[in-house]
Every structure is written in C-alpha cells, then in structure tokens.
Subunit: 416 residues, 2 copies
C-alpha cells in the first residue's frame, strides 16, 4: 500500500516549526509495510487543503493528515474534511467527556469552543485523544484509508500508537519493509562507492532491494532497504546484503542503525576493562561531551582536559615549553606529548588528544585553518595523525572529534 | 511571490531523517517577502520528481529544490532537472576547481565520480558550494525562479546565505516581513506569558503583527513577526514591540535572533578583559564545547577540566577527600570547591563548575536523577545553586550547561 502524509498549518509554512511529525509517521507506516511516497505541507486554507486531499486520495491507498484540529478560528481541517467527504459534524459523547475531564483536572473553566472539539465528522471512526482535547478521525472506504490527527506531536503519537499502527498490524498489507543502516567514517562517499563496486553484485535489480549512500559530517551511512511479501526472505536478504557490504567496507563500518561511535568505543573499552583520558585543544570539550553522553561512561572515562592556553598545556600536561616554541602548539610533537601526558597524569590505559586550527582566524600558509593533529597514546605506542578539514569552526570540531574516536575504535580492534 | 519547497530523498520518506531544510528555507524566503504556500517531499524517483516539478512551476513563482545532488547512483536530481528543462550537462571549471581543492586539502585521491560533480545543467547560473563538492543551480525565466541545492543542511545554507537571499533582497517584492526573536532562559512558558500579559497591549490585533512563544530545552523564545508594505513602518513596529517585551521580561532575555548564550557571555568577558575556567562533572565537557564554539574564545577561555572520577576532582581541583566523603560528589560543598579550585589553579577571574546526576542510573531518594549543583567563583564570592532537571541524560546536560552560562551572564551584568 502507498501512502501520502499531509501536514496542515501556517506555522510550518513560515518555518516557525520544524516538522517532525512526517518522519515519525513515515517510519511507523514503513514498519507495517506501508510505503510513503509523498509528503505535503499546506497552510490553513480550504481550497489548498481540498485540492491536496483530492490529489492524494486519487493516487494513494492511505492518506494521513495532521494539524488544524484545534479550537481556534485558524483551525479549519475538520470543516475541510466534512466538505471533502460531503458529510456533517455530530457530537461524540466520549470525546465530550474527555474534553470536560481535561478542563476539570486542570481546574480551568470550559468554554463553548472547547466543547465543540467533541464534534466529529459523521461516518468516521473516532480516535480518542489521550493527551489533548481534539479527537482524531479514521475513514475506511473501498480499501482506502483516510486518517486525520492533531498536529501536536504527543497527541498524534498517542493515536498512531494506540490506534493506527495496531489497526494495520492486524490487517497485514502483505508487504514487509525492513531497513538496515551501516555507518562508516573516514572515507569519502565516492571512494566508498568504488570500494563497494557494482551494487548489482550485491543484489538483483528490481528485487525490491535498494542501497542508499547518505553523507553527513560524521561520515557516510549505507542504508539497505528490502521490500517483499515473504518476511523470512526479506530478513534473509537484508542479512545477505549486509554481509556483502561488510566484506567490502568492513574497516570503515563502525556501527549500525541508531548506535553512535561513542557507544561503540565505550562498549569496547568496558569489555576490555580499559580506561581513557582526553586532552582537547581544538575540539574544546566536544570529545568529552560525546563520551559522557553514554550512560555508564564513568566506568571507563577518567577525565578530560580542555587545554586552550599554552600555559595550561605546559602546566597540566607536562608539554615541554621547548616543543611549543620549536614546533608550535599545532604540531605532531605537541599532539603526541598531550596524549602521552594526559594518559600518564590520569593513569589510564589510553590517552587521546587534539590540537588544530578551528578557525575562522589563526591560519597561515603553512598551517591553514582546518589543520588538525590527533594524538593517541597507550602503553605500546604514542602516535599522532594529521588531518585537513573544511574551514567551518563547528564542522572542524565535529569532524575532529569523530576522527579521534575512530582512531580509538581501530586501535582497540587492531584495524590497520 | 509564491513559493513551493521540494525536498528529494528516500531517507526523508522512510523517516530516517527529520527534514529541517524546509523550515529553514521557508523562514529565509519569508524574510525577503516570498510566501511559501506548499512544501513537498518525494523520493529519488524520476517520474515523481518530474511530476512534482511540473505542478510546482505551474502554480508558483519560485520553486526551491533540495537533495539528490551527490555523486552516487541514487542521486538523480540533476538528471531530472536536465530532463525537465530539456537541457544537458556541461563542465563548470570553477566547480571542478572546488572539487579538486577539497580532495587535495583532505589529501584524498580524486575519482571520476567526484569530478562529475562539476557538471552543471546548461542554462543555469552556478552557485558554488563552499562546504562540499556539489554545486547548486539557479534558473530564471519569465519572472519565474527555479533553484536547486544540495540536501546537506550546511551546504544548502551556504548557498541560501551566499546567493539566493542576497539575490532576492536586491529584487524587492513589495511586501516586507521582518522577524525578531528574543531568547529567554530560566523561566517557564506560562510564567513568561503571565509576565508579558495581554499581547494586545503590545500591538493592535490585525495589524500584521504576531507574537509566538517557542519553547525549547534551552529556554522559551519570543518571536515577533511584522508584515507590511512600508518597510520603515514594519521596522519601527518591530522595534516598539521589542521594547515593550524587554520592559516586561528584561532579566530573562539573554540574546536576540541567532546569538547564543555562549556568544553573549564571551562578549561580556572580552569587553571586561576577564577570563574563565570551567570544571565540569555532569556536563562532561559540554560547557567547554559551547564556549569554544565562539571564534576568538581563546582570549578569555583559559581551560576546562572534565573531572569525572572522584580521584580527578581530588587531584586536579584540590577538593578535600573529606568533602566528597561527607557531602557526596553531588553537593553544594563540592560544587563550590570545584569552582574555586579551577579558578585558583588556572589563575582566571571566574571559575564555573557543575556536578549532578545525569542518569539514567545513579539516583537515590535523597539525590534523584536530574539533581544538579552549579558552582560559581570570582574574587568576591564562591557560591553554588541547586537545580532539578528532567531525567533524560542529554537533556540534563544541556539544561545544566545553559543554566551555568546564564549564571555567568547575570553575574557579569549584576542582574539579581
């Protein structure tokens, strides 16, 4: 079954609110085998709404509408739905009870506008609202589905989880869709594509399988999607494609699906009962921030220093003044000394360091903005690697932090 | 002028990525008087793309397209644009130079796929990409505009700010829309609404002026929007409303528009030639990360410690073992000692510290998850303030960092 998601609301069109509903609904529908192939956002304007409804029901089996169900004058979705289905509004007793309970609980006087929220289009199944006053409406007709929900995310989610998804789970569409995302870092999109080679050696064309390359500042994600009528076969296919992708790009794949690099590094450290300390200059605390985003990180993360001034590098990390004067603060020598120094001082297994020119100023011909040295130290070796990142300050920090954590991952896994 | 925004990408349709581009573009177009009345998202599928282009150009003056410009097989937007405009691809020398520079700087070999990024549709004006390899395309024809940009937010924003918005600013539409956002922190939305009172004492109803309350984990933003044909009047109205809002909520307003709290605190420190050092426990480096996001922060930011283990608090910050044993690591006494210790050790004017229970585990009845102490120390006083934040780990970190920076702002401005 194919679906279109329609969001209604002027606040979306002026960019005041980022639309998170569409991604949420799409993901949920996907999980029950319904493929979303279009998302549309229109304002609180009846002609636009009606025209969008018309085009959506003509070309889709499922239409999901959110927004514009509130009590005020600018909420016109319910009226438009009645016009579209040539029906009228009738009172729903359970919805009225819900509205009254909400106002009693909040100790607020109830108005006529509030009570009118309990009016619903005749012919629809009512989806009660557990988190607000506006009920949702569910129409089914000739194997087509038209679903109307409030735009407030918590209210919409309550109806999706309490009604819409269970409904479609019981009514299998005969089609299953599964995704698997492999996250890579340290390799450009085009090189990854070359490494992987012809995608049709991974899977047959027109087999219901697709592979997408999704770049981001932290690396390129590979997303495999498999669609099919046989769930076991769908799951086997996704496993096969994942295996083939891993055999071609293993070293660059650090995690799958929702896992981030800090989780992977944290798990590897915890498994090995190893500890880490960090000395950050150009990343300014971002590596420590990421490591400590992981619950339980206190078992392997000992401490971090953000040594921004030369004095703090010298005093805290025991960097020889001579090194800073001779090689500069952004140098292999200082990066290595920082990683070694923070490891020794903290008495940890691993020391990690960054020093670079985050910009926008401070660069030179010899040491341009974006030049970064990352230092790594353990009981066997102390090394530093050189990077050149693009010259947006935040971007340099993000890419440096990612590259630094990736060095730790590869060292722990002995990936060369 | 009326605009439609079209986003292209399967990752949007399966809900893997929340579309933030549409809101950003809509807001920017609004600022130059272009009204967005429809947003559409379609997949990497040529028939859908072409049909969406066709319907968009028929009904709109401006069409803005993002996504699908990357180098791999699933990126088909550029081909679809050529089909749609019945044109072909030609090499753009400047774009090729850009691609080559990026790969040279990153010290990576360049492939044919990469060089092909420099092919652009004949007849379009090329928008160079400052942050990536795919150029943008700008078509103008019979007073209609068709604009194609990459889907990576930073790359798209670079083109919007560097080309699209300046272009339309020079081509006035007759209608002016101006926004002003005042950012508050440390006050709940409902209390802020009470403090501000009846909005129609701020401006006339139906005057083209609106006020929106936009809550976020870092605080509530107040957004004033004014529309009108007389630019001077629009700007005067926005100034008047801002003055009235400030008179009612002055102490909570820390910045306006795109400025963040770390910029404000940085500016205040720089103006006073004062320096700061930070000792973080529960925020784990986030405060240092935010401070160092500001270009030039090295002039006032001396260093930060993320003291996660008790040993590091004792050794680095001179916290008496007795304090930690008697009061616990999360206590007023330890927060104060950390702020004092980091200030003394770094020889700065201000010391700032955090210690708290970020969760999800580690809480108790007496010290629940979300309990945070923030310490502040300068030459006149050393204090700590107690907070209780909601119990999501990342959220506790974010709110603590914001509250800590706000304490510094208020101290510097002597706001009680």
């Amino acid at each position: 079954m194919k679906a279109e998601i329609i969001s209604i609301g002027d606040e979306l069109l002026i960019g005041q609110v980022v639309n998170t509903n569409q991604a949420y609904i799409a993901e949920k529908l996907n999980g029950v085998g319904i493929v979303v192939d279009r998302m549309t956002t229109v304002g609180d304007d009846e002609p636009s709404i009606l025209q969008t409804f018309e085009s959506a029901v003509t070309t889709h089996d499922v239409v999901v509408v959110t927004g514009g169900l509130g009590p005020t004058h600018d909420d016109i979705t319910r009226t438009a739905v009645c016009t579209f289905f040539k029906t009228d509004l009738i009172l729903n007793e359970e919805a009225l009870k819900n509205v009254r309970e909400i106002f009693t609980r909040r100790n607020l006087p109830i108005t006529k506008l509030n009570e009118e929220q309990a009016l619903v289009p005749r012919g629809s199944t009512v989806m009660q609202n557990r988190f607000g006053t506006a009920p949702g409406h569910f129409f089914e007709n000739e194997k087509k589905f038209f679903i109307v929900m409030p735009g407030v995310p918590a209210e919409m989610k309550g109806m999706m989880e309490g009604f819409v998804i269970p409904y479609f789970e019981k009514k299998p569409s005969g089609m299953f869709v599964r995704h698997r995302t492999l996250k890579t870092t340290g390799i450009a999109e085009s090189h990854l594509a070359e490494q992987i080679g012809d995608v049709h050696l991974l899977f047959e064309p027109d087999s219901g399988t697709t592979l997408a390359f999704l770049p981001s500042p932290l690396g390129v994600r590979l997303r495999v999607t498999v669609r099919g009528k046989n769930l076991a076969l769908v799951e086997e296919t996704i496993r096969q494609v994942e295996m083939k992708l891993r055999s071609k790009a293993q070293k660059y794949i650090y995690a799958a699906d929702d896992e981030d690099l800090e989780h992977v590094v944290g798990r590897l450290l915890a498994e090995r009962k190893m500890t880490i300390a960090v000395a950050e200059s150009c990343t300014g605390g971002l590596i420590a921030d990421r490591i400590t985003d992981v619950a339980g990180s206190s078992s392997y993360f000992e401490r971090a220093m953000t040594a921004y001034s030369n004095e703090s590098k010298i005093a805290e990390l025991g960097i020889p003044v001579f090194f800073i004067e001779k090689f500069g603060a952004v140098s292999r020598e200082v990066a290595e000394a920082m990683a070694f120094g923070v490891r020794k001082k903290s008495n940890t297994d691993i020391g990690l360091s960054t020093t670079g020119i985050a910009g926008p100023t401070g660069g030179s011909a010899e040491k341009p903005v974006g030049l970064v040295w990352i230092g790594y130290s353990d009981k066997n070796e102390t090394i530093a690697l050189r990077f050149n990142f693009l010259n947006d300050r935040r971007r340099v920090k993000e890419r440096t932090a990612q590259a630094a954590l990736e060095i730790v991952r590869r060292k722990l896994l002995k990936i060369v």
